[in-house]
Symmetry: C2
DNA sequence: AACGTATATTGAACACTGTTCATCTGTCAA
DNA sequence: TTGACAGATGAACAGTGTTCAATATACGTT
């Protein structure tokens, strides 16, 4: 009787994973308990990766442990290694899976600056939707298909805008380094993504900044601690805008005449107001 | 006889750490062997941190293990916990120690863009001199004194240049997020700092990029794999330059009239060349 | 229809990791 | 000389990633 509910072997095994929570009431009554028999093919790489994403979404990437993952799948830890070479590969798969969520479709009629800004925002949004996943980028090289597709999406508008090989590459890295650096979070200053929402952490930092000696950190104290915590969205948006503006400025000023030089020259007429005093 | 070589307690214990490899020949001859007696006060927090830095410099931050660190110090693992609360604090101490190497001195007569560029380069240089240490920033909040001093150093020229509170904060984050994001390395594309020098990795990536399907990644294949690996220095320099240019552009165009809006508006006269086709 | 094979899973183990704590010991002060 | 005390010890605990012989199962073949 265990044969009845076998799904078609060719379909994506994600269907198997969602079989228990299927909408049809029939499956609720007639599906045998999964734990009894038929333990043969219930584990798939997709199911492992999906559950890994669930663990990360629930308790962060540091909680993703082979044993815990195996326990959630109702399986012994060693069983995972038949579907995943090691934890590093699991990380790679999770990362590529997350990056696949980035919508790469672009309207070519938009300005290239707008297109790049859109991509940056989408990438950041996806990365921050899976807390901690961006941290994987620190350890692993993202050379999965979706990573490369993302790179292609960035490079397309740049090349179309007139950036040549080297300059397009540099601009691409600038955008991506910034976006990921931002998403990885806590870059020298901000607090970890997971902790930034914790009210205890916020009040703790509040007190911390109020206790700083103003003589050693005058500007820091003057600007206040809100710079640290508030408005992550605004921070990223403003930064990305400045960055794209800089790229546009670089494109218009340098027409790739200096192959080895800097792509942008300092503006000739530098009218500095209040440049002297404090 | 074990009393002779005790250094003055008030001096920085870094001197103790480098006593064995000191330049003076006298210490080489007259210093008694450390391992015999006098195990009483030979362990200090500074010695622990210094040895941790040595381990990181030698085998990377992942090789920094309490047991290994203890073994190198000729001590049992539990002994470390009398000088360091836990491994997180050890990371914090290491990080702050590294950041203390950043030279924060700036010539106020220089343009503010030049000052910020200098700081960015110095920060990156120090971070990449200690491979993997930048990765600590992913996990820990850098609120040590040297981190804050670094923030102060960035904020000073910005404020002097005319950036007001919020804008100065945003610009500061932009610079620091980018620099650290770059130093953390391997942002979506590049290879880990430690691996990028490995010739095997390079040829491996070379073959990998040559094997890519050109129909799916036309721009990627056209640009070639040299974009990935070559000239990290140039990548950072060009990116930082674009970034500072964008900041200057933002400062001159927006005179803080829009408190909630974007600091930079898109250029009104958009002359697009080759904007249509690919 | 029964058999043998291929294979996913098991259970246990190995070598690690960070961390704690009762115990011991060497040093300094009284 | 004695006491107190701070720091090092040794051992243990719980947890980590990973490997591997043995097992049990479903499938393809005969």
């Amino acid at each position: 009787m265990a044969q009845r509910h076998r799904t078609a072997p060719s379909t994506r095994a994600t269907a198997v994973a969602s079989a228990a929570t299927d909408g049809s009431a029939a499956s609720l009554w007639f599906d045998p308990p999964i734990d009894d028999h038929d333990r043969r093919h219930q584990l798939t790489r997709e199911r492992v990766v999906a559950e890994a994403l669930a663990v990360i979404a629930q308790d962060g990437v540091q909680a993703l442990t082979m044993r815990r993952l195996a326990a959630r799948l109702g399986v012994v830890p060693g069983a995972l290694y038949h579907h995943v070479r090691n934890k590093q590969q699991l990380h790679d798969l999770v990362l590529d899976n997350v990056l696949s969520e980035v919508d790469l479709h672009l309207d070519p009629s938009l300005r290239w600056t707008k297109q790049l800004g859109l991509l940056g925002h989408r990438l950041r949004q996806v990365l921050e939707a899976h807390p901690g996943v961006a941290g994987i980028l620190k350890t692993r090289d993202p050379l999965g298909p979706h990573s490369l597709a993302l790179a292609e999406a960035f490079l397309g508008p740049l090349q179309a805008a007139g950036f040549h090989d080297r300059d397009a590459g540099l601009a691409f890295f600038l955008l991506v380094d910034y976006t990921i650096g931002f998403a990885v979070g806590s870059a020298l200053t901000s607090v970890n993504e997971q902790r930034v929402r914790d009210p205890a952490t916020r009040t703790q930092l509040h007190q911390f900044f109020r206790s700083l000696p103003p003589d050693r950190f005058p500007t820091l104290v003057a600007l206040g601690e809100h710079v640290w915590l508030d408005n992550r969205d605004e921070r990223f948006t403003a930064g990305l805008q400045v960055l794209v503006d800089g790229l546009e400025h670089a494109r218009t000023s340098s027409s790739s005449q200096h192959p080895g030089g800097r792509p942008t020259a300092s503006t000739p007429t530098t009218r500095r107001r209040r440049a002297g005093g404090g």
